[in-house]
Subunit: 140 residues, 4 copies
């Protein structure tokens, strides 16, 4: 878990305006695993005074993207499901840890656990990716 | 579809820093239906140069929240799944239209379709809500 | 809803040992829509004395397969999610009504509602299909 | 993995007409983990000549039920999603291995991997359970 962020992940991170703009930090990234952190800002709260689920999803989705960043191609999210276990509150730092569940052919499944820094479970996310090749960009 | 936004939805919207901060507009909100719009900003792009899926999810999730905003209680998202059909590009305006699929006891299911303004399908979302009452805040 | 079952659906039904073996009846089938019925037999009950969720899923999955049976190829289920709303009891007849939610390129999304004959909601199902062509059978 | 089947699981198995009727074998069952096997019979094939997805779902769902069978109550499936990776063929034996992903309050999440006996991945399943108590049977 203390390996450095891979160079391809670092390059991808530089282009990832969305994740950096939300204040995410890339703590670990290697093929098959990634860990990102994000602190809940007041601007992320919804009408119920708690963190809008979309930001929790975003953190998990970014963690998946970095875990799925194998060298051979471009993997994009095709489908994802998230279960919200406990609300997130302003000032809390969330940790998203993504692990590859399977990868076969052009499909991958990634599980991401989102917790607070003391390990309390906030959300469970499962995402499905698909590798794109040139012909898919035209066809799909 | 041209009814005004209900007054309870308007009050909820005022508190929804997250949705307003992302530039969403609340176009319609009544129990069982809501429509929101959001224009994709450059700050929303990920490492692949397209809209980060988290913002598309956020728009759909907000639409569900307003469609689920019946008067009798507080409905929160418990589980949601999203299928990404086509990327979103900077400058495009996305429309999320949420419709209640079912509501029974304390559970609800909402389907949200996210399209561009010309009707091109971008994502399909299905979310599950649960009404909270006081005792649940302690128990769950 | 009272159109006859299409001839291609009828041919597919003849080969569908699984659906027929579970006692399903094909009531309607046309591209984009299908309706099947199944009566819960004692052999379908689980350890809690109610219908095993797998049979409810099977009914919904079959309904999707017939709604997805367009003429141009073979559509298979790739991913499906089901929400169980109310248990099914021995002797009840379940109706699964499948409707196409979207179909673009090689992907489709189908929503299936499972009810009792008096319209009580038993389960909501959303399935994703993918059309196979020859090259996919090798590649995927 | 070679612990005996717990006595409460054995009692539940005796009542599980559905799982036994489909030819499932209960190989392992303890709180948080279960492993079941099932051989694909000709009666399980669909119109495409491969195992109907409903039977694969049923096997995974049963595995979840036994992994969720903690002593304190009755846990039922509330929502489940399955991804089909590779078809199942007549005569193959499928193994479903269920592991508890989380359990908090009255909610649980279980991941079930379905493989052939040589370890080839057939499906990935994630299910959500909810513990029932007496008052829920009336309310929900």
């Amino acid at each position: 878990m203390d390996e450095p962020v891979s160079s391809s992940a670092r390059a991808m991170w530089q282009e990832d305006h969305a994740s950096r703009g939300l204040g995410m930090r890339l703590e670990h990234a290697a093929p098959g695993h990634a860990r990102l952190a994000m602190t809940i800002a007041p601007s992320m709260t919804n009408g119920h005074g708690i963190c809008h689920g979309g930001f929790i999803f975003s953190l998990a989705d970014s963690a998946m993207a970095f875990a799925a960043n194998h060298t051979e191609g471009l993997d994009v999210a095709q489908h994802a499901a998230i279960t919200f276990i406990r609300p997130g509150h302003v000032g809390e730092t969330l940790i998203a840890e993504a692990a590859e569940r399977m990868r076969a052919g052009r499909s991958g499944i990634y599980d991401v656990r989102v917790t607070t820094t003391d390990g309390t479970l906030v959300a469970e996310f499962r995402g499905h990716t698909r590798s794109l090749r040139n012909r898919d960009r035209k066809e799909t």
